[in-house]
Subunit: 427 residues, 4 copies
């Protein structure tokens, strides 16, 4: 491929391709929070591979370990056989992540995608409880295979199933009805009422911050209440931490500040550190009840991802990264507040927490316009929400202050231009 | 990890782990058709990562390209944005594979696992036709997520779903009733009969050689008949070539000798060449009807797999690999015939074709015993079939004669010992 | 059968029999609001065949017409062929019921049970809209066949299905969350939100007063709001008036005071007048889209029920019955208020309206005790609600003052005795 | 209604009405095997209310008992309370039908329609076994509510559901593949094969002669084989004898000649004797496991039907009716053979047994033409089969020789005229 030519993709790739339409150029190189296209144009990455690149692109330490491993002919693909690298990853994950947080999960490798982890979690919860129903939440997103799609809220994505989706019941996520007591009372009532028509579920599945659903961040007291609702009734609590986990909100797991302990946790995206496919399903030992091979998959043993994922765990040996994310999160928050004040035409409201914040715009099309202007000016940023009404800041959690500033500055320019162009009248 | 210690896996990994139980050692290095464990013990690989390592381990050319790419900070993870590497892969795949075979598929990247490709195929077929039912076949295996599991035959695997599986109808695979005309007449009658109780399906989904299901190889005339049945009724034909494709049977696609042209083809496992997660869904342009983003996934843009997968395509620039596989397949066939004659105690019958052949044993437990003895003597080989009654030869398609001989020789020893130990009385 | 012997039923009838356990005697004769058992013991009927005997037992006019018809060898069973009696019933139903209420439904005869009418309504709504989801309400009851059970709330009854029930979504019925605006806002939000995970439904199905579900009477403004929610979104409104219809609440249709016009209405129970099996599905002409025979059933043409049902329509030629029901309803209401004050130990709250009122008791088991004492003292009355916590006054709508007084007086005795015996401590 | 005016039905009744289109006149009186319309035109009834009028219309003995019962104010509607009449019916059914046949079923009253009985049988089988799947057969018909429709073969009727039908698997009915051993081997193989993709079912449900499905009569050895297949695997055998039972094939139950003992039997249609709605579900005591009220329905206690149904049982006190049916069945058979020979243009093949025989015509539209001509000449007869390709002789089982002859003679005229008019060319 000699030049920046999108024609190849139009010719050969399916119409289902999507991000290439929002970011219409051919990328080639990347480092840290920067990507370059074939024309050499540089972009600040406020997108982070939708959360798969929390540590930025091609982290130097990981890269070195990876190249070494490849050069020594370390085993690449091992299914769920034992490999040295996998053993080391398991131990380090236990020592650096689980033990210090007083968590004692067994680790399942379910196939290297988030949706695979979610499917394994749902299957296990149903098997363990003997129940078929699962409670999902408004605006939840859990994946595109039929099991995961059945607990996903987005109508467009559900429509792609081609079959009615079943075995789930949607409950209101935190703040859906603007009255937390009312909301959780409703949830409890529905569960405890023999006449409600909703079967006692095997599990609740939720994201603590809904990434695709519009950056809705659940309050800690809501998460605590939900955990209690589950515990009191023998319902398993599944936290899908595929997007919000691995530091995205400032702690390794997104649910840490709530002090809850889910029965099952789904991890993927950044768990491999370098953007390599890997997923984990973390299971409370009491529920580790699959028979050998009852759920499996070919790419469970992606040893390159073990190598880089293990190296990534070094970031979590002390709390310096955590503190840095939290500090910068406050700056992002302040910036977004400022933007909403400066540009009331956005009709904006703040969303999210940590390194997954954004602005939900009350004016149709403006969030997408902001993302488009960002791209023109050299920032990659996507939108979220059922109507793409949120623009979503998703920088690498390792970004430095200078790059963050640069990105935010471009974002401000983009907002300005979008507002000018759209010229929305606020009401 | 200092030593060959399985304790780490018992302590930290979920009970669902499976292959590690059949091959109880810790692997470390691998090259071509050989793997070494942490004690330095060498194994011949007659397993090939369940078909993900058709080109053997750590192929030297791919390795070199891969290391180069990493060292130059080529973009690693790009979702479905355009990248130079992806563009090159698309072009080369078109030029080397599709065009010479007179196939004009659009390529979809559905998330890097076989089950993901199958889910995308099923969703698309249902969307395109507006029908919900899909015809699957006895002993078919298509994956472990709910959509794919619904068209999978294995009762144990289906049981893991925890919900009744629906929207599919099982038909007999080739030779199920030992009378091909009877079988296909039955299929046609069920479809054409307004009183049969079986809804006109969106699609048929099948493997030409059923890998997990016991190495059942469909006859070419059966495949042709099935294609005609589909065409005559506006039913889409999906070939799941995840395991049998990419040269495993001697041609790139397993269905080439039949001369059929499926509407949708699922590829994964060895398409990335090096054991790196990648999957493709190939779609006839008439059915390329997903909206942008209607099916997606985080790890669609695994650029390392594009690099190695592209390099792997060089094997298909001429027919030398094909001829080599076909020649060696005949040797494997002859060897297996010989084994069945020498060891009538196996009560064996031949299964499969190409580099996916094996023996179905009529005596309970003996196929597993053969695999166990193989492992002891330095060959990795798995079993297949609903009752693990088939031992399954799955060497790399690039294996040389000497290594193949060595593996077969160990296999013969294993058979001998298994027969001795089990001492089965044939009836 | 010579004597009052329940042994015959224990010996020959299935364990599923139920009312015979609450009313353990063998009945023989009946007239108006009275029933006699084989020992000649007389009971006042505050049960009315669960709503199938709104006009009391063996109404003299209907009886005379029925005997005449039989003696003249009028056709008894005619499927959905045309018969003189059916034609006359259709005309009279139109003239006496539909036209004066400005309703122009087409009449479908769906098989002579309420559940059959509900099934036909659900099938039609799905066919007409091309959607599969149906919104049901907490504590709704619609029947025991799989389609109707899927929109029924009671966990015990749902459990009998033996399969997961699907294609429905439960919404809160009026007053479920004690805040009507909150409730209907929630319903609208869920429907209008592309990220809610709830598919746009074919229909809402509801009872205006939930009979089995505990005598929950929806407010008129709630019904109006629900109708508007449906109209605004092209959702069909199905009112299941099987129990609350045919005068039970004081008007022929229970929804008349709300001024709403459902798209489909289900009628059964008392529509035949004399307790003979008959059901109607009333369909707005725009939705009369079943093909001939697309829903059918053997006993659609129960001509004896046409004869008695037609005679029953005479009660509706003027508003005297309506006024009488409404007057007596107020007396029942006053009586129940009085009981709750006199017997605070019931921890009672009033439920229902018209001739379907009762008291929900906060003390476990006491509603059932009241019903039991009633039976002992000569009143037949059942309980309702998911935990049988409501005792349910269901006298014939044609009962005279004297008999009503007598029944209420026995009921008071029963309450007194139940309270004494249970001796509940109110808290 | 003063005159024979179909306009009333067109104006007021739903488009779903069906038989009135085939028999376009307004009926009024009926006696034995004769019906008269409002113009006084007489018809011989070769339809028998689709099997609900096996004893003909308005049988004099039943009529007398019925009128007496009504005049004495016997209780009409009793739900599942005990009534004198119901007790007597239970005893007589036991003494006259069950005991002499060495059957010891418990009797459930499931709501007075066949589909209700089928739903109760399916629910019970699933509850008892804890399995969800049910095996149904090609061309089976079991009713129009969702549970029953899921095991029904007819595509048009299934299409009315508006949702995908699930939890069932269609197997080939006797002779579907023209090789009984092949067929039952296939059934056994699918069930015993852990890789077939078909879950072990709760039950098989079948009709011994498929009434709606085209008068396909299973051979006795097939029924015996099916019973054995069920017994060997702990699968319940449900015989839906709604249409073929109550003497229609010459014995009370249609399965008697096969010597099998189903676990559950569904009865309706003629069980009430006089065309009044009634249904029974007969349950082997081991499976009588519903909780009280777990399946119910308002019209279970149709006492008028108990009165006439009890009287009808007198026909079965000796074998005279049986012998008469069998004798006349042979005459019908001979007549049909004769017709097929005389009119080769029908391209006919014989179907059915007993009083449910007919001719499947190989020429499109001719069966319907025969039925139409019959109507013109004074015989009511319907068609059956997925494409209405069978004309179906269904006279009352109490018809005398003279009336039978008269009906057959008219039928011959109709065939002649249909053949003339259609002038089909046989190939």
């Amino acid at each position: 491929m000699k030049q920046n030519d999108l024609g190849i993709f139009e010719k050969h790739e399916s119409e289902v391709r999507s991000y290439v339409r929002g970011f219409p150029t051919v990328f080639h190189e990347a480092k840290g929070c920067r990507i370059w296209d074939m024309d050499g144009k540089e972009y600040i990455d406020f997108f982070s591979g939708a959360g798969a690149l929390n540590y930025g692109h091609n982290d130097e330490n990981m890269k070195q370990k990876l190249v070494e491993y490849i050069q020594e002919d370390g085993i690449t693909h091992s299914l769920d056989m034992a490999s040295k690298t996998k053993g080391e990853f398991l131990e380090k994950f236990h020592d650096v992540i689980l033990e210090p947080r007083n968590l004692n999960y067994k680790v399942m490798f379910p196939g290297p995608t988030g949706t695979n982890s979610v499917e394994s979690a749902l299957k296990l919860a149903r098997k363990v409880t003997g129940r078929t129903n699962v409670v999902s939440f408004t605006h939840g997103f859990h994946g595109m295979t039929i099991g995961a799609l059945s607990v996903t809220g987005n109508a467009f994505k559900r429509g792609g199933a081609g079959i009615p989706l079943s075995h789930s019941y949607t409950m209101p996520f935190d703040d859906y009805m603007k009255d937390m007591e009312q909301e959780t009372d409703f949830i409890e009532r529905i569960l405890d009422d023999n006449g409600s028509g909703v079967e006692m579920p095997a599990a609740f599945i939720l994201e603590t911050v809904q990434g695709e659903g519009g950056l809705n961040a659940a309050r800690m007291e809501w998460l605590q209440k939900i955990e209690k609702i589950c515990r009191d009734r023998g319902i398993l609590l599944i936290v899908d931490d595929v997007q919000a986990g691995v530091g995205r909100t400032g702690t390794f797991f997104s649910f840490e500040p709530a002090g809850i302990k889910p029965d099952i946790v789904c991890l993927s995206k950044s768990i491999g550190g370098y953007g390599l496919p890997l997923a984990l399903t973390l299971i409370h030992p009491d529920y580790d009840k699959f028979e050998p091979g009852e759920h499996n998959g070919t790419f469970r043993g992606n040893n390159m991802a073990f190598v880089t994922g293990m190296e990534a765990l070094n970031y979590w040996k002390d709390d310096s990264l955590s503190r840095s994310i939290q500090d910068k999160s406050e700056r992002i928050h302040a910036f977004l507040q400022d933007m909403m004040e400066k540009y009331p035409q956005l009709d904006g409201s703040h969303r999210g927490r940590g390194f997954m914040q954004g602005i939900a715009c009350g004016v149709e099309g403006i969030a997408e316009a902001v993302a488009e202007k960002c791209f023109e000016h050299g920032v990659i940023m996507e939108t979220a929400g059922a109507d793409d009404e949120v623009f979503k800041l998703f920088p690498p959690i390792t970004i430095n202050d200078k790059d963050l500033d640069k990105g935010l500055s471009i974002l401000q320019t983009a907002i300005e231009k979008a507002v000018d162009e759209k010229n929305p009248v606020t009401t």
